[in-house]
């Protein structure tokens, strides 16, 4: 099994992560919890799959990471959004919404409407 096969739409995980991080800087586990909260547990991925995505986003310059101390005094790597990441999130959210709109309209079309 390839680690990327998360069972969700391609690109969706990246967008969700960006969204989760945009709500405040998080460490990896925090991002996972936030994503699960945001999707109300509907999105089930293997937890490990999160990390390749985080690393990819970091490498693309959308996320910034630094080591700090977590709430229970553990060392942790915290991710936050870079300006580029913020821009990307905005664009992708717009794109997503447009796509949802288009797809919604398209899929709700009835026989007589065309």
């Amino acid at each position: 099994m390839h680690p990327d096969s998360t069972g969700i739409l391609p690109g969706t995980l990246d967008l969700l992560i960006l969204k989760a991080v945009s709500l405040g800087q998080r460490h990896g586990y925090g991002v996972l919890l936030r994503v699960q909260q945001m999707t109300q547990g509907a999105l089930q991925v293997e937890q490990g799959a999160l990390y390749p995505a985080l690393y990819r986003l970091e490498r693309q310059g959308l996320l910034d990471a630094e080591w700090g101390t977590s709430e229970n005094n553990r060392k942790a790597k915290f991710y936050r959004l870079t300006p580029a990441g913020r821009k990307r999130l905005r664009e992708q959210t717009d794109g997503w919404n447009r796509m949802v709109g288009i797809m919604g309209t398209a899929l709700n079309t009835r026989a007589g409407e065309v």
Partner: protein, 920 residues
């Protein structure tokens, strides 16, 4: 460099990345476990659950590496594991590993050490800039080209008239005493013109060179050679301006010549000091005009665009012009100025040395070839034995890269271990070879192996190439495609014709090389055998001696005799000295002993057939005890034989027989007359290498003396070690009829002769600090001369031969063992059809012997060819082939081959047919 730095940084970054990633993922699992514990799970269960939820951690790590751009390094990821595996495999086969490392150590260590010795001896640069453009003026004389023999006015005329050279200079060679802080030694010097250093293009490292003002102003200044400066003056840079006595006269040190610059002579007679031409301390004989005083060597640097041929033609014309203007009536050398130009530094002795060196380098290269083929053989055998494993692994999905990489790891480990072993070998050899081998009494060959990186690169490259090429070849060939080849996978396949053909071909050539080494090593077999049972007549073991050249120092007879007497007094005072003597020569080894004509009194000494030429040793009474020469009949010398007393002589036994036959010689009278110089001239390698020492002049008015034979002494070698040709007469030093031009002080000691050498030198220095020691050494060292050199070279050939033999046999053993393992099933089949153990053994032995016999044939041919070449170029007295060589040389090889083949063969004969056939 920058790439290297980047790679290094990437490595560091990567290590940090790995650490942080591990930490982050661990933290994740722990946080999840914490949450699960909070939710009510037990700690172990929580951990387990957390890990399950996380998924395949290694796969995610790999994905993270990919995502972070560390993917290219994955090529190397796991190389550590490869190394570990390779190490384990090497340890599991200690014999192979040991032999491979041994091959590498010998191939690299021995060849680099041997080559660096040779390079240091024969091919070091002369220190002359653009040597190709420097020529020396030579005279054609009796079929030879003679350099030197140019008079000062001739030189000045040539310099003024010539157009071929940008600069012309002159140098006169001389031996002078130089007083160093510890000893006074006779050294080779050059008296040079002011532009000498400029013409040769050598710049001094300290101070300045001799310049035209020094020559014009007759300044007593001296330039020291680098070797002299570092050996005797402790490389002291404040030496410039200090006083050094040259020929008993104070000279001011002007500078130190560049390292490696040895002047116009060859590198064995390297010049040690340079003085201005006009400061030559030697007295001039007034009998000669300036034109007839021929002692200069003229050297020129070709002008831009001029060729050596054009320069030759111009010099010939100038010479002819001078002949017409100043004809020479009679000269010591050539009468006609038949001049030409010859390449500088191409003297005969240099050429011989160079060809000798080249021959040695070729031999060393052969050892390298043997070591390489051996290594190739070993890894090839190992590779083929892994065929099945590789084929199966390839078939079940191992990538080609993976398999090749494993092989690389193994080669890398072997190369590293081999280099370490080679370094040990080289260090050992460097310590062992740090010696001086005397060539003649005045010349030493100094072995100082220096690590030469070019050679290390060549040898290392060759070894690595054979390691990688032959190591990888089977792996590459087998993994070309993925399908499982039936001939490899099936057990029966291996029973076919084995792969050993190529390996046997390698063995054949190894044996050939090895054989030719042994044949060449037999070159000096006569000397080695002779030396083992030869009695030189002199007990060389416990004597030390030092020679003094009064003639070169221009000391008169009286002063020389007085000095010799006082040296003897000093020596006899020393408690370490058992007995001591001073003499004008010794029976052999030192070439300057005077020669005499002797005859019985019944016929005139001038009559043909009556006169015998004999070496004359004029010595103090204890010479016989000191040299260990027995007095067979009569007596030795004693105090009765004083200057004014009746002249007496002691004859060598052989000489006594020659003069008087069976009649008792003691009590009879003979005629003695000083005669000319060296009559023993033979063309040998040794003699060609040795430059002739100047012989003392004989006074023309020497008188015939009638002397009584008082004793007959035991025979000794005469002239040189191992030579009994010639006659010998001992005279009391006090009655010595010729000038004392040459002195030798000899002591016999109970202790170390090396310590005694210092005793002799110190005594001479105490007597007169101006008295120079020409040469000194232990008995064998100083008198053994060329023999030591021959023995050393022959020993080297033997050692190289033995090394190649060892390597070859190791290789043969490896190949045979491997073959037997490969053919186990075949033997099983044969045995099940009724072959006996003997037949199987014979089969294996035959297979093993075939390449050895072929190699022997080739090797004998090559060896005799080599001896033929040696005979043609260096040594016309030897025979090319002797019957005993054809018998004796192959014997050790055949024996060793038997050992190498026997064990695998007997293993083959013990194959259990049932066990072998079970896998069919």
């Amino acid at each position: 460099m920058r790439a290297l730095f980047a790679a290094f940084r990437a490595l560091l970054t990567r290590a940090r990345f790995e650490r942080e990633m591990r930490e982050e993922l661990t933290q994740h699992v722990q946080r999840r476990a914490d949450d699960l514990v909070a939710a009510g799970l037990s700690r172990p269960d929580a951990h387990r659950q957390a890990r399950i939820e996380f998924g395949a951690v290694e796969a995610y790590k790999e994905a993270c590496r990919d995502a972070s751009g560390f993917a290219p390094l994955r090529v190397l990821h796991g190389f550590g594991a490869d190394l570990k595996l390779a190490l384990r495999r090497l340890v599991a086969t200690p014999v192979f590993t040991l032999f491979a490392i041994l091959s590498l150590a010998v191939g690299l260590g021995v060849t680099t050490a041997a080559y660096s010795v040779v390079a240091n001896l024969f091919f070091a640069p002369s220190g002359t800039a653009d040597e190709d453009r420097v020529v020396v003026l030579v005279t054609r004389w009796e079929g030879n080209l003679v350099s030197g023999g140019i008079s000062r006015p001739d030189y000045e005329d040539v310099r003024a008239a010539q157009t071929s050279f940008s600069s012309v200079t002159a140098s006169a060679g001389l031996d002078v005493s130089v007083a160093t802080p510890t000893t006074t030694e006779l050294m080779h010097a050059e008296a040079v013109d002011g532009n000498y250093f400029d013409t040769l293009g050598s710049r001094p490292v300290v101070g300045r060179a001799i310049d035209p003002q020094d020559v014009a102003g007759r300044h007593d200044v001296v330039v020291l050679s680098h070797a002299l400066w570092s050996l005797r003056f402790g490389a002291d840079t404040s030496i410039v301006g200090q006083r050094v006595d040259v020929a008993g006269r104070p000279f001011e040190v002007a500078g130190v010549a560049a390292e490696g610059f040895y002047g116009r002579e060859d590198r064995l007679t390297a010049t040690r000091v340079w003085i201005p031409l006009t400061a030559d301390p030697r007295k001039r004989s007034s009998a000669l005009t300036e034109r007839d005083r021929q002692r200069l060597v003229v050297i020129g640097r070709l002008a831009e665009g001029r060729t050596i041929e054009a320069a030759s033609a111009e010099l010939a014309a100038l010479g002819a012009g001078l002949d017409a203007a100043y004809p020479r009536a009679k000269a010591v050398g050539p009468v006609q100025r038949d001049w030409a130009a010859r390449q500088f530094n191409h003297s005969d002795s240099d050429d011989i040395l160079r060809s000798f060196g080249l021959a040695f380098v070729a031999l060393v290269a052969l050892v390298l070839v043997v070591a390489c083929t051996n290594l190739a053989n070993l890894v090839l055998a190992r590779g083929t034995s892994r065929r099945q494993e590789l084929a199966v692994r390839r078939a079940i999905g191992a990538s080609r890269w993976r398999l090749v990489r494993e092989q690389c790891a193994e080669s890398l480990l072997l190369a590293v271990a081999g280099s370490a072993a080679a370094w040990l070998v080289f260090s050992g050899l460097r310590a062992a070879l740090d010696i001086d081998v005397p060539l003649t009494s005045k010349m030493l060959i100094s072995f100082r192996p220096e690590l030469d990186f070019g050679v290390v690169a060549v040898a290392g490259g060759a070894m690595l190439l054979s390691l990688v090429v032959f190591g990888l070849e089977p792996a590459l060939r087998l993994t070309r495609n993925r399908q499982l080849r039936p001939d490899l996978a099936s057990a029966a396949g291996a029973a076919g014709i084995p792969q050993g053909k190529r390996q046997r071909r390698l063995v054949r050539w190894q044996v050939a090389i090895c054989t030719s080494f042994f044949i060449l090593a037999t070159l000096s077999e006569k000397y080695i055998l002779a030396e083992a049972r030869h009695d030189s007549g002199v007990e060389l073991d416990h004597i030390a001696l030092a020679t003094m050249n009064f003639w070169a120092q221009q000391w008169d007879d009286e002063r020389a005799a007085r000095a010799l007497g006082r040296v003897l007094e000093e020596l006899e005072k020393d408690p370490q000295v058992q007995s001591a003597a001073v003499a004008t020569g010794v029976p052999f080894g030192a070439s300057n002993a005077p020669r005499f004509t002797i005859a019985t009194t019944d016929r005139p000494i001038t009559e043909r057939g009556a006169a015998h030429y004999a070496l004359g040793v004029a010595a103090t009474p204890r010479i016989f005890q000191t040299l260990g020469v027995p007095i067979l009949r009569g007596r030795g010398f004693d105090d009765r034989d004083a200057a004014g007393a009746r002249p007496v002589v002691v004859l060598g036994a052989q000489t006594a027989r020659r003069l008087f036959g069976t009649i008792e010689a003691v009590g009879r009278e003979i005629q003695v007359k000083p005669s000319g110089s060296d009559g023993l001239r033979r063309r040998t390698v040794a003699r060609k290498l040795a430059l002739q020492a100047p012989s003392a002049p004989v006074p023309a008015d020497a008188e015939v003396q009638i002397a009584t034979v008082v004793g007959v002494a035991g025979d000794t070698d005469i002239g040189q070690l191992f030579s009994r040709r010639g006659d010998l007469v001992y005279l009391p030093l006090a009655q010595q009829p010729t000038t004392v031009s040459f002195g030798i002080a000899i002591v016999r000691t109970a202790g170390s002769p090396y310590v005694a050498v210092r005793v002799v030198r110190d005594a001479i220095r105490r007597v007169d600090p101006e008295l120079a020691v020409e040469s000194s050494g232990t008995g064998l060292g100083a008198l053994g001369g060329p023999t030591v050199f021959l023995r050393t070279s022959s020993l080297m050939a033997m050692v190289l031969g033995a090394l190649t033999l060892l390597l070859t046999m190791v290789g043969l053993y490896g190949v045979q063992s491997h073959e037997v393992a490969e053919r186990t099933r075949e033997f099983g089949v044969r045995m099940s059809f009724g072959a006996t153990a003997q037949q199987i053994r014979a089969l294996v032995l035959k297979d093993g012997y075939r390449p050895v016999l072929q190699g022997l044939a080739i090797g004998l041919f090559l060896g005799f060819l080599g001896r033929g070449l040696v005979r043609a170029f260096w040594w016309d007295g030897m025979s090319v082939a002797d019957l005993w060589m054809v018998v004796a040389v192959p014997l050790p090889l055949l024996l060793a081959a038997f050992c190498a083949c026997y064990f695998p063969a007997s293993r083959a004969s013990r194959v259990d047919p049932n066990a072998a056939l079970r896998h069919l």
